[in-house]
């Protein structure tokens, strides 16, 4: 509280902060901020505001934005403030700019110059302030303007500057990896910086680089290991200690990097074992930060080539986490467990109860983490319990994002491990019922296909049983209010295909239900369409089987309504239904054969069956068919004549353009928005021709006059043109539509009706063994019992998996992974236990091959100079961290050591130059912009308040 009302803060500011602080509601806060906005708007543009006052205004603007209101009226003042001489004022200006603007904001161009100037400042704090802004506001376009200076700063005498320069390069890498690809060696060099802060910062870009391309950095393993070792041995300055842990954040970053480098690389992993083991031993497990490092160790251990000793330590830590009372530690424990389980699945067993506790915990975060773990340990033996739990939870939450995720996981697990089809369908029903609108439509199609195709076994009774059980479940579910659209589609389709197939339900009952659906969801046209088609199928089957069809009155009303529907699709379906009902049994059976949804549809793309008809027509004097390509050309020309008074010669050119209407639009606009000077030299054969052809006489006058004038007109035309160019573009698109449309409308409509016919013509039968049903039912009942149930199932699963594991213990980890990948590749087929043997063979081959590959590359890499330098230097330099008092001696030593790196530098920069010059356009671009800015008087040295008024006005 002592600092309240520090220096230079006006009463006004204090009052503002106080009133915001005391605001009791959002509405009150909004009122305060709105009146503040009014005040600021008035004050901030007054002339001759003292610096300090202005700084305060800017901070008040920051408040305005922070509390959710627009302060864009003041942005320009923040930009202006970055030019100030006073460091504090300047940095506040920079801060405000980074908070207000994004990298593509128009005002950025006004600070590029200032940043460039500040990067050259003698005051290192100014340089740091500028680098902060570089890290936030420089986009791909402006990188070339900054890059040379930033690279120079990498060897700045002040460590704070080197650190920020590294981060600026990191940012450039994010924005445009190619812009700094030639500078990667700098990251390696800075890793050996004698300042631990710079080294620590360098780990950030290196982590990203290694994530992208592990193999190029294998040579650094030894360096990272030796750095980590020294950090763990407390050789860094005490200032980096946190709660008695030596530089824990650096340790964590290093462990993350090692995890990447050691993944699937036995040799690299072996180099890490000692240091990771040391950290396991040294970590203080009573503090949060100690546990954070331990957790990172587990992540590392579970990523690198497995080592039994380390796995044991990891398992110990995990059990301590899980036994802890702290929810945070339990959470970390569950996460760690799900990582380790891939390598040693048996460790989950001892934590069953803890896992169940976490699953039962009211804390959502913990519960979700546990679901993640369960998801990773799902097998065909425990899939029922797990998926059941997931669905129960899914039903209870409202968070759509997570609901989607968990629904897709249920689907994935069910597709992968479903013990029975019955179960699969019931599970899918639940998922659809409760999260239908969040599920990918493909899942619905898969389900329909599954029900139609049966399960590949030649057991027709089982299939038909399954179908009738599906029908029954759907009829039951239809009683529920508000079902998701996707689910309704599945229901309608299945009812249409199989509703009356087993004779249990009468046609009038099913059609009644379908009419109810169409009525209840009358806003959903897709559902209605499905319902109508289902109706048609039911009636068709009735007719085909020789029964007399009486349409229900509600059905008739529905048809009357749909015959007049605004939706052509619905209308067509209704008319088709009408026609089908009027046909005789034989015709109907041909159109809609029952149980034919899985028959292959032969599509005669050439429409050869029409040949006779065509021949006949031509003989009668009809016009022969003109192929699409020729016909569209003709259409183009005629359209052009009408719309644009184009010469016929232009049609070929135009025609090309129409195929990609959007790109041409874009490319037409940029030349307009760019400075006209650039427009002229750029060799773009298309535009000149076009622009010369299209203009009406008045425009051609402009073309005749000097280029300077042309440009000026060009600006106006830009504004005048929109009516013109959109016109052409719309004509393009409509043209295209008509061109494609005509043919496609034909094609589409025919193919549509064909597919529908064939769709309708699908149908199989139904039958299912009652034992299967009972089994599934008992499993479902069982799962809802209590916690003990899942535990028991886990045990069973464990036991069975043990049997499997014993037979090939070392392969197991591979198996899990391979099962995953295999399942991704061929989703629905992984149902049996027969799989593992198949999958386990291929992964067995792979890792060795991988290893061989890795070994080769590491050997090559270590031969490269960089590698050896880094490897040799880093340990030496790192030892220097240890003795801080002898800093002077160190720096001598270091200057000796770092010489090579300095010598290297010029080499690097010279190589950079050609690279940049090859990037001509960009550099030129920015230079020109700079020039423009300078012309306008925005050079920081001579501020021009008038300019800003202009800009503001």
């Amino acid at each position: 509280m002592g600092s309240q009302g520090g220096f230079y803060q006006s009463k006004e500011f204090l009052d503002l902060v106080k009133s915001i602080g005391e605001a009791r509601s959002k509405a009150e806060e909004d009122r305060i901020v709105l009146s503040e906005i009014e005040t600021l708007k008035r004050r901030i543009s007054e002339p001759d505001i003292p610096k300090r006052k202005m700084k305060e205004y800017i901070i008040r603007l920051v408040y305005v934005e922070m509390l959710g209101h627009d302060a864009s009226f003041g942005y320009i003042h923040a930009v202006k403030m970055t030019h100030d001489d006073s460091l504090l004022v300047k940095r506040t200006g920079y801060l405000a700019v980074t908070l207000f603007l994004n990298e593509d904001h128009d005002l950025i161009i006004l600070i590029v110059n200032t940043i460039q100037k500040d990067l050259k400042s003698d005051n290192y704090l100014v340089v740091c302030a500028a680098l902060n802004v570089v890290c936030k506001l420089i986009n791909e376009e402006t990188i070339p303007a900054m890059l040379p200076q930033v690279v120079e700063l990498l060897v700045h005498p002040k460590e704070a500057v080197r650190k920020k320069a590294i981060m600026a390069l990191h940012r450039f890498y994010h924005k445009s990896p190619s812009s700094v690809s030639h500078l990667v060696s700098n990251f390696r060099k800075r890793l050996c910086d004698n300042d631990p802060g710079v080294m620590g910062a360098t780990l950030c870009p290196l982590f990203d680089l290694i994530t992208k391309d592990v193999n190029s950095y294998k040579d650094l393993v030894i360096s990272f290991v030796s750095i980590l070792k020294q950090v763990a041995e407390r050789r860094l300055p005490k200032a980096y200690d946190y709660h008695q842990m030596p530089a824990p954040f650096i340790q964590i970053k290093l462990l993350k990097i090692l995890a990447l480098l050691g993944s699937g690389d036995k040799q690299a992993s072996e180099d890490m074992y000692t240091v990771v083991g040391d950290i396991f031993r040294k970590c203080d497990s009573s503090s949060n930060i100690g546990n954070a490092v331990l957790y990172e160790c587990i992540c590392c251990v579970s990523s690198i080539y497995p080592n039994p000793k380390l796995l044991e330590s990891a398992a110990d830590v995990i059990s301590r986490f899980l036994k802890s009372d702290s929810h945070n530690l339990k959470y970390m424990g569950i996460d760690a467990l799900s990582r380790l389980i891939k390598i040693s699945p048996e460790i989950a067993e001892q934590h069953q109860l803890a896992v169940i506790d976490c699953l039962e915990d009211p804390d959502d975060t913990l519960k979700r983490k546990t679901f993640e773990l369960l998801y990773k340990m799902t097998k065909s033996t425990n899939v029922e319990v797990i998926v059941d739990r997931m669905i129960d939870y899914m039903i209870r939450i409202n968070d759509n994002h997570y609901k989607t995720e968990i629904a897709s996981r249920c689907v994935e697990l069910a597709e992968q491990f479903a013990p029975s089809n019955q179960w699969f369908i019931q599970t899918m029903n639940k998922v659809f019922e409760h999260a239908g609108d969040l599920v990918n439509i493909k899942v619905a199609h898969n389900l329909m296909r599954l029900i139609a195709e049966g399960f590949g076994e030649d057991d027709d009774t089982a299939d038909s049983q399954l179908r009738s059980s599906a029908v029954e479940s759907y009829l039951r579910i239809l009683g529920e209010p508000k079902l998701p659209s996707v689910f309704l589609r599945v229901i309608c389709w299945v009812l249409g295909e199989y509703g009356t197939a087993d004779g249990k339900f009468s046609a009038s009952y099913i059609t009644g239900k379908l009419c109810d659906v169409a009525e209840a969801y009358s806003n959903d046209e897709t559902v209605k369409a499905y319902a109508v088609t289902a109706l048609m199928k039911i009636y068709a089957f009735e007719i085909a089987s020789g029964k007399k069809v009486d349409m229900l009155p509600e059905c008739q009303t529905l048809m009357e309504e749909l015959l007049a529907s605004h939706s052509t699709d619905l209308q067509q379906r209704a008319y088709e239904l009408q026609v089908v009902i009027g046909l005789d049994a034989h015709a109907v059976d041909c159109i809609m054969p029952s149980d034919a949804s899985c028959e292959d549809i032969e599509v005669d793309k050439g429409l050869s069956f029409l040949d006779g008809y065509i021949q006949e027509s031509i003989e009668k004097g009809a016009q022969p068919y003109i192929p699409e390509s020729e016909r569209s050309g003709i259409l183009n020309i005629s359209n052009f004549r009408n719309q644009d008074h184009n010469e016929a010669s232009s049609h070929s050119l135009r025609f090309e353009a129409y195929e990609l209407p959007k790109p041409t639009m874009q490319s037409r606009i940029p030349p307009a928005s760019l400075a006209s000077t650039e427009l002229v030299p750029v060799p773009e054969p298309m535009y000149p021709r076009e622009s010369y052809q299209t203009p009406v006489p008045s425009v051609s006058l402009d073309a005749g006059s000097s280029e300077l004038k042309l440009r000026l007109d060009g600006v106006q035309k830009k504004w005048g043109r929109p009516t013109y160019s959109p016109a052409t573009s719309t004509s393009n698109s409509t043209l295209q539509k008509t061109v494609n449309g005509i043919t496609q409308v034909d094609g589409a409509s025919t193919s549509n009706s064909r597919t529908r016919e064939t769709y309708d013509s699908r149908k199989p039968q139904i039958e299912i063994s009652p034992e299967k049903q009972k089994l599934a039912a008992s499993l479902f009942g069982g799962s809802s019992k209590t916690e003990k149930r899942p535990a028991a199932v886990h045990k069973i699963s464990k036991a069975s998996s043990h049997v499997m594991e014993k037979s090939h213990v070392p392969k197991y980890s591979m198996e899990v992974a391979s099962e995953k990948t295999a399942s991704v590749q061929q989703p629905p087929d992984l149902l049996d236990l027969g799989e593992p043997t198949v999958t386990s063979t291929s992964p067995l081959v792979d890792p060795f091959k991988q290893l061989e590959g890795l070994l080769d590359t590491t050997q090559v890499a270590s031969a490269v100079n960089h590698g050896s330098i880094a490897a040799i230097e880093s340990p030496d330099m790192m030892t220097l961290y240890a003795d801080t008092p002898a800093a002077i001696r160190n720096s001598d030593l270091l200057s000796g050591l770092s010489n090579p790196s300095i010598i290297n530098m010029p080499g690097d920069t010279t190589t950079t130059q050609p690279m940049q010059s090859s990037k001509g356009p960009n550099l030129k671009d920015s230079l020109e912009r700079d020039a423009l800015v300078r012309q306008m008087g925005v050079t920081p040295s001579s501020q021009n308040p008038n300019l800003f008024k202009d800009l503001l006005g």
Binding site: M1, E103, L125, H170, Y242, N328, D363, T365
Partner: protein, 143 residues
Amino acid sequence: MGIRFILMVNKQGQTRLAQYYEWLTLEERRALEGEIVRKCLARNEQQCSFVEHRNYKIVYRRYASLFFLVGVDNDENELAILEFIHLLVETMDRHFGNVCELDIMFHLEKAHFMLEEMVMNGSIVETSKANILTPIQLMDKSS
């Protein structure tokens, strides 16, 4: 990327400091802050200090009336971020002396300066309190 944003919010849900490491529009920020603050404020002391939100996680810690919320990517070490928050508070404590909500409100820019030293491009770059505070102290002296 790691850290996506750092927020300080009081227990009434009013924002006291907001720093984003990816660009969001004013409306997006407003919506996001509202959503996650509601989520975090509804939790009790025993529950995890981590909350999943959309496709990232929020690590939060409460100090008296003030909540510190850090949005991180899913592969970030939550416990370390939790301690990072504490480091930030310790650093502010060292500078302001027994820091409180009002200190941050009256010296918003300084709180931001500290963050600028500690986090760049969404990564933790400096954890030595001396290194973090030196530039701020030098600036205080020179002005």
